[in-house]
């Protein structure tokens, strides 16, 4: 089984993680990076606009959003506008799909399967919504997905609402679907568990499910990063 290097970045600004993702993907394409990677991160509130962003999805101008303390990024991923905010678990798998399956729909469905499996750890019955990529529970949206593929190496990924307050979603029409109710693991789990504990459990559940769905062995072993011919990418 191939390894899946887990990089847990903690809280990091969107732009910094974006640079890291792009650098890792480039190395994965060139072969300088010899294993798949999963970046896990939590972003300060930020609005990102995918390639499918409709003007109606962004009712406020970028300047008005920035006046409310939000950064705005246009990025190369698919999909419409979305929001990241603290307490949302964002995952960016950098996978070489040559080693898995060269099929973007398969990959999107796999990411959904990862999140659906992870949510079972909290007894949250999640499902797909045909035609609307993402993960849903009881008609509410709990996770969003948007990806980019560069020579079959993946960038961008998923955002799972865990303990975030979902406030940022008031300022965009998430994924261009108006009237969507967003929800989070904390809301659906209905437990008054310690937030930090819920956060850590969610992270573990997602890592485990990534490994099973993609048939990879997740590891946080730093040794993994010493084998590629290039320097470890974590140096900033």
């Amino acid at each position: 089984m191939f390894p899946l290097g887990i990089l847990d970045l903690g809280r990091q600004r969107y732009g910094e993680t974006l640079d890291l993702q792009r650098s890792l993907a480039k190395q994965r394409v060139s072969g300088a990076l010899d294993h798949d990677v999963l970046l896990l991160v939590e972003h300060p509130t930020v609005v990102t606009l995918g390639r499918g962003t409709k003007a109606s999805s962004l009712p406020l101008s970028a300047a008005q959003l920035e006046a409310r303390g939000m950064e705005v990024y246009e990025v190369e991923r698919g999909g419409d506008a979305t929001v990241h905010e603290p307490g949302q678990l964002v995952g960016y798998p950098i996978l070489d799909l040559h080693r898995h399956r060269q099929d973007l729909h398969w990959y999107l469905r796999q990411l959904e399967a990862v999140l659906i499996e992870a949510l079972t750890a909290f007894d949250i019955p999640a499902e797909r919504n045909p035609g609307l990529t993402g993960v849903w529970t009881g008609g509410r949206k709990i996770a969003s997905i948007g990806i980019h593929v560069k020579q079959w190496v993946t960038l961008h990924g998923f955002a799972l609402n865990v303990i975030n307050e979902l406030k940022g979603f008031d300022w965009v029409v998430p994924c261009g679907i108006s009237g969507v109710i967003m929800t989070s693991v904390a809301r659906e789990a209905g437990r008054s568990t310690d937030q930090l504990q819920l956060w850590n459990e969610t992270k573990d559940a997602v890592i485990g499910a990534m490994g099973r769905q993609f048939d990879l062995a997740p590891t946080r072993d730093p040794e993994l990063w010493t084998t590629p011919p290039q320097n470890p990418p974590l140096r900033q």
């Binding site: 606009l49 390639r51 008005q64 190369e76 991923r77 099929d103 008031d170």
Partner: protein
């Protein structure tokens, strides 16, 4: 011989893809492996990569077009190479075929012509701009054609518009120095506001609260403001400008209110049944008692006017209001209201919201009251302010934060001078 660029299948189940954008212009040199274009399907974006080197001779599918898998989207070849006499005429598909051009920009030929001369035609190139840049330009009424792009292939990105804005002279509407004449047009469509669709939670709040308490679910927030410092500030201002009209507390509160609204745009809004309209500018409706009722003349752009301007205008409008000489545009289009009953020795009261505005401030009298200052009881001049909030627009914490800013301005006159 020229090579076809085809819409690639990003998945066996994919039937069509949307060509998001071209990364190479017609006439650009292309190396093997260069990214030619981005294609989107579902929530995935993939790059189309050049499978041969040469020159991008022709873009057949326009950016934004949806193209079936394996359909021709462009040609790579040698400059000058004629495409029409190749085996398959590339133009057959685009004249009648299923390639749908998304919103052909003005100035471009409606349907791509047969590419007999593949040399690039700089005159017809459409303005390339990012979605964000387009949105900003639309908001600001900028013509993108007049902006130089610094992004890839001259694409106009947000940075370029920022540069344009920075270079624009002071004609920009942001806090110009107060002049005596304000050519302010009445509120109407196309003016400075943002309409925000109702989120699910806003819809639910609106429905449930309105069921409970009449058509406008109102709640009230009261705060007491220490006016000692403002009292002194006003006294010295009036002493310094002896020959000018006196500044009243009402003028000061109006100015502070307008300035606080600029900082809390969430309270400077109209309820519009299916959306909320957040105004960029502040126009204060001022309740004026008239013999058989009341009317609310509007002080436009109160945040940008000096205290004396506000005072003169308020006096003039109130005078004409009492004589029933106001024009309709002078008492409509306010974004927030103020009502002052301090002159009747009212300590505090609740005012009724002036729809579609989302809030009104009720101003009581300034009274000497015992207050605790630095741990001791002192006699201080105090003012009670009560804000009525339309809960469909303003939540408790939102209104409270706004009121706190207003209190800060009134208790610290310098904060208003900024």
């Amino acid at each position: 011989m020229a090579t076809k660029i085809l819409m690639e299948a990003l998945s066996p189940t994919m039937e069509e893809g949307r060509l998001v954008e071209w990364k190479k212009k017609e006439g650009d040199a292309v190396a093997l492996g260069d990214v030619l274009a981005e294609v989107e399907t579902d929530k995935a974006v993939m790059e189309i990569v050049a499978r041969s080197a040469g020159t991008l001779l022709k873009q057949i599918a326009a950016a934004g077009a949806t193209v079936p898998v394996s359909q021709l989207v462009g040609w790579i070849g040698q400059p000058g190479e004629a495409l029409a006499d190749g085996a398959p005429a590339p133009t057959a598909a685009d004249a009648s075929g299923p390639v749908v051009s998304a919103a052909p920009p003005p100035g471009t030929a409606a349907s791509p012509k047969a590419a007999a001369t593949p040399a690039s035609d700089p005159g017809s190139s459409r303005v390339k701009a990012s979605p964000l840049a387009r949105k900003i330009a639309a908001d600001q009424g900028l013509n993108l054609a007049s902006v130089a792009g610094s992004g890839p292939e001259g694409r106009i990105i947000k940075r370029d518009l920022d540069a344009v804005n920075a270079a624009r002279p002071a004609s920009a509407p942001s806090r110009p120095s107060a002049g005596p004449s304000w050519s302010v047009s009445p509120a109407g469509p196309g003016l400075g506001y943002t309409d925000v669709p109702l989120t699910q939670i806003r819809k639910t709040i609106a429905k449930r609260l309105a069921q409970s308490i009449g058509p406008i679910p109102t709640f009230y927030l009261t705060t007491e403001v220490d006016m000692e410092r403002m009292w002194e500030a006003r006294a010295s201002l009036n002493a310094a400008g002896e020959d000018q009209s006196k500044i009243s507390f009402n003028d000061i509160i109006m100015k502070a209110l307008a300035t606080a609204l600029i900082e809390h745009p969430a309270c400077n809004a109209w309820w519009q049944d299916d959306h909320i309209r957040y105004w960029n500018d502040v126009h204060i409706s001022m309740a004026v008692a008239i013999p058989d009722g009341l009317i609310t003349p509007v002080i436009r752009h109160a945040d940008r006017k000096s205290l004396r301007q506000i005072g003169a205008e308020a006096k003039e409008l109130a005078g004409r209001a009492r004589n029933r000489k106001l024009m309709p545009e002078e008492y409509t289009g306010g974004t927030f209201s103020i009502s002052n009953l301090g002159m009747f020795d009212i300590d505090e009261f609740t005012a009724v919201i002036n729809p579609p505005e989302a809030g009104i401030l009720a101003v009581g009298r300034i009274a000497e009251r015992p207050a605790v200052v630095d741990g001791a009881i002192a006699i201080r001049r105090r003012l009670r302010l009560t804000m009525s909030c339309d809960h469909r627009v303003i939540d408790g914490a939102t209104g409270a934060a706004f009121l706190k800013t207003l209190k800060l301005f009134l208790e610290n006159p310098l904060a208003l001078v900024w």
